[in-house]
Symmetry: C2
Subunit: 532 residues, 2 copies
């Protein structure tokens, strides 16, 4: 059991100890390299790099590698874990062998030279290593944990008389959930089966000491990602202990004003890293759902007031007319600079208050509590509807310049500012949102699925899953990507190098939740068969 | 205690076990970085790279390092050990920090880019590392053991918000001898004191699990180096246990013909790596001297026959006229391709037989044994003198083409083919050896010192120590270099890149033996004061 000490970020020691008690055991399993592959320029492939098998990895032990050679290994699926190499040389009495290695989730990331990196978040996230092997034969474990499907090995030093053989290369994969994914539901076609498996694998790979957002990049516990992971967890691995641990870590790391952080960094001691207003508001929904899913509402009793307190950071931005003035808060909603977030964050707050009211009822608070909360939500709803809903067009605008966006409608529907009937109309009619700002991240795409479900639009929900998430699958994804724009292979929100994008990201793996909870499990493929 | 198993190189298990029992304890001590230095182009400096202090390393903890920065640390002396770094960042919530590091013995090696390496033995011997630090603050130990005075640190990844501070950098130095060098003898001037200290430091740094030839490159137990180390050890650290361990390892690894190897590699199991005729012959002298120095002749009794057996590999090359025909043996003598080794190897054999005769007497063999051995030595001596000594010129030629070399005279003197009087004449008169092949390596330079001593030429001995080894000292050496040619900064026997040369090498550290055993401890500096 890990003991956390109180640090200077106002973490609460007692609450941290409750999280430490829940530190999960991490299971490991061995995955040998499956094949040696060629990476080739191929404009039709995702990010223009194609992968073709050169030979099965079983034959690797007979290949002699010399200085200057590069081989690329494919492990057959995206994994998180340590990498072990077993090497032999054909002559032991020679100079040390030096290898440069690159672990990569996607072919482009594997193929591009790390020296050319120009991304915004840092080359440090590229999974590069350099190792020196002085004695042969040798078994080596690379020093870090990686998220990878591909491993590039460059022999940068190896004297003439000492060519090297890679006798074995394996990933010691790791997850608290173990290796096995959840079996598909009966009746699913191949596409839905693949999508669901990629969701489970995404979650599995993020299930480590904490529920990470991306095991390649960030590796943190983010509140926004966590709520979505908790949904998928409920229909797959059901590790409610890990969700509880996450909730406790976030709650314990609230700041001096009592605000729950957007993210927790675990080392050297758990501490807050980012404060994001919409994430803090969502905490009430996370807590409500966890109490429902796990059947254990003790933690709801413990943390209800903290969840309710998050509303105060929203309330302080409201004027008497119900206009919201952002008081320097970071509001996320989506990866989109130009998005006006005003209506969306008000709706998030309404949705949070509705969730709190439900939680109050679940926890058997005096009925007055839920009633007061609902009254406040109703007030905000009508103020926003009055200021920003256009009854003629049936859309919800946002902000002073009355910006039109998908985000606004999605959150308007979830908050009940738009009725489900109005929601159906606006989401079904492409003309209504003509020129409106589209969703950018899978995070907002998830909330679109929630809006579809709330409006009973199961066909559209399935179509979106097939087109958007299915689009990633047919472009090679077996875990879902942090960032995906079908028409832009190289899109990144982080500067200009897509290699900082995570290809296994918590917030992208939610279709499995909808597929496993929807009443209509199978829908025809409405995206066309040749879309990628 | 390490147990060695019998391997496929005909190692003898029982003998290996006796070596394993003698596995030494390695002592460690911490050496913090002394200063941050600038490496600057400077034609007057050795290898054209000058070193100047930028600021004391104590101030490092206040320096913020950003992506793209390089710093060079000087530890104040050449050390062997592990490197530990303590890092902090000015903002914990950011991308990992990636450092490229290069540990180096000499300024040029530190300054030159590893990517430009073009040496013969392999870039693998350059002491390069790349590490990634995910969590801050962090204490890191680099993965390998290095021989270094300088450490170059390049910050190759560090996001803008996460500049890094090197709070502490230290070498955990290691040697079986511990940190302390042997104090100088009274009456020495500064130059002799420095030379002697560099000899002790060279030996200290080579004293590891085995007595290594070079702790940067090779890291093996070489018989030729060992004999010279054993001489210095006798007047400094007196670790006869380590010499005995080395003798046993070499003896245990003899091949199927009973030939003792030139070198032993320890991993995965001790095994022979090179068979060198003159090294095998020298084994008898090594054994004799060890019995004398340690005062324990048990090992002499055990290994006498094995030492004697080495002569058979020489004898099989002799025809009835005393001409030696090399039967595909590697004969070292010196790092010099064009050197004819015929006379030198015959002399080495004579010297070895003389040594065996002395050992037979020390071990109280029947007097007949020494007599027979001496008779054989006398026979070879007179045959060689008849075939290759020119009484008119007073020099010993070598081979069919009657090549003239320093090596021939040196070994002729040691073998008594030239009398000490003849030796004095030839070594004192520069005209005699005009056009003769000069010594290349410090290894042969050592045998020149032995020849001087045998001839009673203490002034010339001291002059050579001051000029040759003193020349390295005034060019910055605090351990002695494997390779040194005053007029050629970039000379290397290994291809065209001097970075494969070792700057701390066993066979170069013997002046200390002569200084500490000579009767005349102080001689004037005859090299001139401005020679470097």
């Amino acid at each position: 059991m890990t003991q956390y000490t109180f640090d200077n970020h106002s973490c609460r020691q007692e609450e941290l100890n409750k999280a430490a008690v829940l530190t999960p055991e991490i299971k490991t399993w061995s995955v040998p390299a499956k094949s040696v592959v060629n990476l080739v320029p191929h404009p039709a492939s995702w990010q223009h790099v194609g992968v073709s098998e050169a030979y099965p990895a079983d034959l690797l032990k007979d290949q002699i590698l010399s200085e200057g050679e590069r081989i690329v290994l494919d492990f057959g699926e995206t994994l998180v874990g340590k990498v072990r190499l077993k090497l032999e040389s054909i002559n032991s009495s020679s100079a040390p062998v030096r290898l440069k290695l690159l672990a990569a989730e996607l072919p482009y990331e594997a193929d591009a030279d790390p020296e050319t990196f120009c991304g915004g978040l840092g080359r440090g996230w590229l999974q590069e290593e350099m190792i020196t092997i002085y004695d042969m034969p040798s078994e080596i474990e690379l020093p870090n944990r990686y998220s990878l499907r591909y491993l590039v090995i460059n022999v940068i030093a190896c004297s003439v008389s000492c060519a090297v053989k890679l006798v074995k290369v394996e990933v010691i994969a790791q997850s608290t959930a173990g290796e096995k994914l959840v079996p598909p539901l009966p009746g699913w076609d191949q596409e839905l089966t693949q999508i669901d498996a990629a969701c489970s694998r995404t979650l599995r790979n993020c299930m480590q000491n904490i529920l990470e957002d991306g095991p390649k990049r960030d590796r943190r516990l983010w509140l926004g990602d966590l709520r979505l992971q908790a949904l998928v967890n409920h229909v797959t691995f059901r590790r409610y202990d890990q969700v509880e641990r996450s909730i406790r870590l976030l709650s314990a790391c609230r700041n001096g004003y009592g605000m729950i952080p957007g993210a927790v960094i675990m080392k050297p001691e758990p501490h807050a890293s980012s404060f994001i207003l919409d994430y803090s508001l969502i905490f009430s929904r996370l807590l409500l759902e966890h109490c429902r899913f796990s059947g254990n509402s003790n933690i709801g009793d413990e943390l209800f007031e903290i969840a309710e307190h998050q509303l105060s950071f929203f309330r302080e931005g409201l004027d008497r007319n119900g206009n919201f003035h952002n008081n320097n808060h970071w509001i996320f909603i989506d990866h989109c600079c130009e998005l006006d977030r005003t209506s969306s964050v008000i709706c998030t707050a309404i949705w949070a208050v509705d969730g709190l009211a439900e939680l109050a009822e679940l926890l058997n608070y005096p009925p007055q509590k839920a009633k007061e909360l609902r009254a406040e939500a109703d007030k905000w709803r009508s103020m926003l509807r009055r200021s920003s809903f256009d009854p003629a067009k049936g859309v919800l605008y946002s902000g002073y310049f009355r910006q039109l966006s998908w985000a606004g409608q999605i959150w308007g529907i979830l908050a009940g500012v738009l009725s489900t009937e109005e929601g159906r109309v606006v989401l079904r009619d492409p003309d209504k949102l003509q020129g409106g700002i589209k969703p950018v991240s899978p995070y907002l795409m998830h909330y679109l699925l929630e809006a579809y479900r709330l409006c009973g639009m199961e066909d559209e929900l399935l179509k979106t899953i097939r087109c958007y998430w299915g689009g990633m699958v047919c472009r090679g994804a077996d875990t879902f990507w942090e960032v995906y724009q079908e028409e832009n292979d190289f899109y990144t929100p982080y500067g200009s190098d897509p290699r900082n994008n995570s290809a296994c990201h918590a917030w992208s793996g939610t279709p499995g939740y909808f597929l496993r909870t929807g009443e209509k499990h199978v829908a025809p493929d409405m995206c066309g068969t040749n879309r990628c």
